[in-house]
């Protein structure tokens, strides 16, 4: 039996087995940001340690950056303090910092790939659960806690238990108006929000092979929403073409050498998997969440589940809690639910291809009068490229606010927040209670084009009907 990419990369990076039975694993790329990392530098100082390999850590700002006015100092003194703490620590320890004025700042999971830092066959860690995004390149990438950020800074390694590997085989052609976001929402709906606990997800099959890198990133990004800490796609020509020529990509002879390594770590044809799941992509429709976990999802044409439909009491309790919070009625269509806010952005769907796809649909349409609509590029590079193509004008003309790069309304750590019980059609990744900043705010997850359709109609709508897709 052959080996999976996960097992090959793990074995290459394994330093030794620790007495606890966990493995000490070398971390090839460490990304840090202002929310979960400044505390780790404090822990390092308390132990009298320095950063072991400062050239393998890269820092930026994303979570707390205001997207309307980036002028320093920020109005929020706490946010300003976090930025300062990170900047000082990076300067002291010789860590490269992509600051607000660097031209390279953005959401950590967008800039890693964009700068060519993210490469196949690496182990990548970051104090953020959406680090699984980088798995799109055939890396083992995962989120870690702050104490583990300290471990990486101090030793360039982590103590970890090896995961099992589940192959998710996606075959078939996507229907019109169906995107990578719909595939991952379907996978989470099918396997559950804890179905991936203990597993790395390997996504493959003809649908995934046909995906662009940006689509693969959307897919891998939400692995953690299905409980899988790691999600990845085997590297191929699409991967190599994306990386070539980027600032941190290998060049000249080093490029050829890198290609050899990247090809060598892809899963063998006869790789052994702990589990295999098959998904028919052609059967998937535009998907939206109706509840308070990403697994509570339905096709836009379906009705919201009712508690009575559930198989057991614990399922019924979850449905009742979700319906009460979302103020939805079981058995009624989700289509037609009034929205207040539309958000396009985040590490899930804040890339150039997302804005291009929406822009070509919304030309000639207007955002409904009662809807506040935000388009937030994921990085300065995405913003520049989109603006060079005039996408910002298209969004503005349609009634969207075109903002500066950051995490924005995905997670409520900056001024972009829901107010009261506003309902947001969102291209982000989590619909948890209070996620978007108001303890009673409501989130409905969907693809960016579906968000645009909801913005235009002022209610949850099927983008295929709204835009004639």
């Amino acid at each position: 039996m052959g080996k999976s990419l996960y097992d090959k990369v793990w074995d290459l990076h394994k330093v030794r087995t620790l007495p606890s039975g966990e493995d000490q694993l070398f971390i090839g790329l460490h990304l840090i940001h202002e929310v979960t990392s400044p505390q780790a530098f404090g822990m390092l100082r308390d132990l009298g340690l320095r950063v072991r390999m400062p050239e393998r850590t890269f820092a930026t700002l994303d979570h707390i950056v205001p997207t309307d006015n980036r002028k320093r100092p920020f109005k929020d003194a706490l946010a300003e303090g976090m930025v300062d703490a990170l900047r000082k620590a990076c300067t002291e320890q010789g860590v490269t910092f992509f600051d607000l004025e660097s031209g390279r700042q953005g959401i950590v999971h967008i800039i890693g790939p964009e700068l060519g830092l993210t490469q196949p066959g690496m182990t990548i860690a970051c104090g953020d659960s959406h680090t699984s995004t980088h798995g799109a390149f055939g890396a083992i990438a995962f989120g870690i806690g702050t104490t583990q950020v300290r471990d990486v800074l101090a030793t360039q390694t982590l103590s970890l238990q090896r995961l099992k590997v589940r192959r998710i085989q996606v075959e078939g052609k996507l229907g019109p108006g169906v995107y990578a976001k719909d595939i991952i929402l379907e996978i989470i709906r099918r396997l559950g929000v804890s179905g991936g606990t203990g597993y790395a997800y390997e996504y493959g099959g003809s649908t995934i092979e046909g995906f662009s890198m940006e689509e693969r990133m959307t897919l891998c990004n939400m692995s953690i929403e299905g409980g899988a800490r790691v999600g990845y796609v085997n590297p191929d020509q699409t991967t190599f073409d994306y990386i070539k020529g980027r600032p941190y990509a290998p060049k000249g002879e080093a490029w050829e050498e890198a290609l050899g390594y990247w090809r060598s770590i892809a899963s063998d044809e006869d790789a052994r998997y702990d589990d295999v799941v098959r998904i028919d992509a052609s059967a998937i429709a535009p998907t939206v969440t109706w509840g308070i976990t990403p697994g509570q999802a339905i096709s836009v044409k379906e009705k919201v589940p009712a508690a009575e439909d559930a198989a057991n009491e614990s399922e019924r309790a979850l449905i009742r809690e979700a319906l009460e919070y979302m103020r939805l009625e079981g058995g009624k269509p989700i289509e037609g639910t009034k929205i207040n806010v539309a958000f396009i952005g985040s590490c899930t769907n804040g890339r150039l291809s997302d804005f291009r796809e929406v822009a070509r649909r919304i030309v000639g349409h207007k955002v409904a009068a009662h809807v506040r609509a935000l388009a937030v590029p994921g990085s300065m590079e995405v913003a520049r490229a989109a603006e060079a193509e005039g996408l910002d004008r298209v969004f503005r003309e349609a009634g969207f606010e075109w903002r500066e790069p950051g995490c924005s309304m995905c997670l409520a750590m900056n001024p972009d927040k829901l107010i009261g019980d506003e309902l947001c059609a969102s291209s982000s990744n989590r619909n948890f209670k209070g996620r978007q900043g108001s303890p009673t705010g409501r989130t409905v997850l969907m693809s960016p084009v579906m968000v645009a359709a909801a913005a235009v109609r002022g209610e949850i709508a099927d983008a295929r009907d709204v835009f004639g897709i």
């Binding site: 620790l18 966990e22 706490l78 976090m82 101090a154 238990q161 976990t293 750590m413 900043g437």
Partner: protein
């Protein structure tokens, strides 16, 4: 850096019901704006414990009968969502020493272990039995015995639990914070770095 050997945890327990309780619920994002974890315990379950005006809602953690509990009992998939260590830090700083649940999210489990907070999994019926016991008598002393892998409550109730073997070993051995061991491996780390083509390439440039 000598760490405590964590062989058992004993204390009163409180049940916070609900499957899929996520890290945003454990600690809402607006309380993540800090450069240390000091004082973060106050915000544990903030939005389910208090309404918008800051008035207490009905919640087990607001119930004086459970004040001072050292063990949190939860349901399925506790701690899903973000990797924020603020979640187990707030649990720890609020005075909890261990969590019992039917299951845990991966990252939350790892973060908790690293802080020396055992997270042990019990079957649904056993979870229900423990909850019934502590709800009927909040003064019940609960012991999580990591040697025997059993949770005892009130002298006569004993239920088995599971925990990842690596986590159990590191708690028992007092290596739950792995930094000392990771630092010891420095020479071997160098060898691994030397065999990784991308590390070598960067070093050569």
């Amino acid at each position: 850096m000598a760490l405590d050997l964590i062989q058992s945890v004993t204390g009163r327990a409180v049940h916070v019901p609900g499957d899929d309780i996520d890290t945003d619920r454990i600690i809402p994002a607006r309380f993540l704006k800090c450069v240390t974890f000091d004082g973060i315990g106050e915000h544990l379950f903030r939005d389910v414990r208090f309404d918008e005006r800051g008035e207490k809602r009905e919640h087990p953690l607001n119930d004086p009968r459970f004040a001072g509990a050292a063990i949190l009992i939860a349901d399925r998939n506790f701690g899903c969502g973000s990797s924020r260590e603020h979640a187990p830090q707030s649990i720890s700083k609020a005075g909890f020493k261990a969590v019992i649940a039917e299951s845990f999210a991966e990252i939350f489990f790892g973060n908790s272990t690293t802080l020396g907070i055992p997270c042990v999994s019990v079957g649904p019926e056993h979870r229900a039995a423990l909850v019934a016991r502590v709800s009927a008598d909040p003064t019940t002393l609960v012991t999580i015995d990591l040697q025997e892998q059993v949770v005892r409550a009130g002298g006569d109730l004993a239920v088995p639990f599971t925990i990842k073997p690596g986590a159990r070993e590191s708690l028992l051995r007092g290596t739950w914070d792995p930094i000392a061991q990771l630092l010891e491996g420095a020479d071997e780390v160098q060898k691994v770095a030397a065999r990784l083509p991308y590390v070598q390439r960067a070093a050569a440039q």
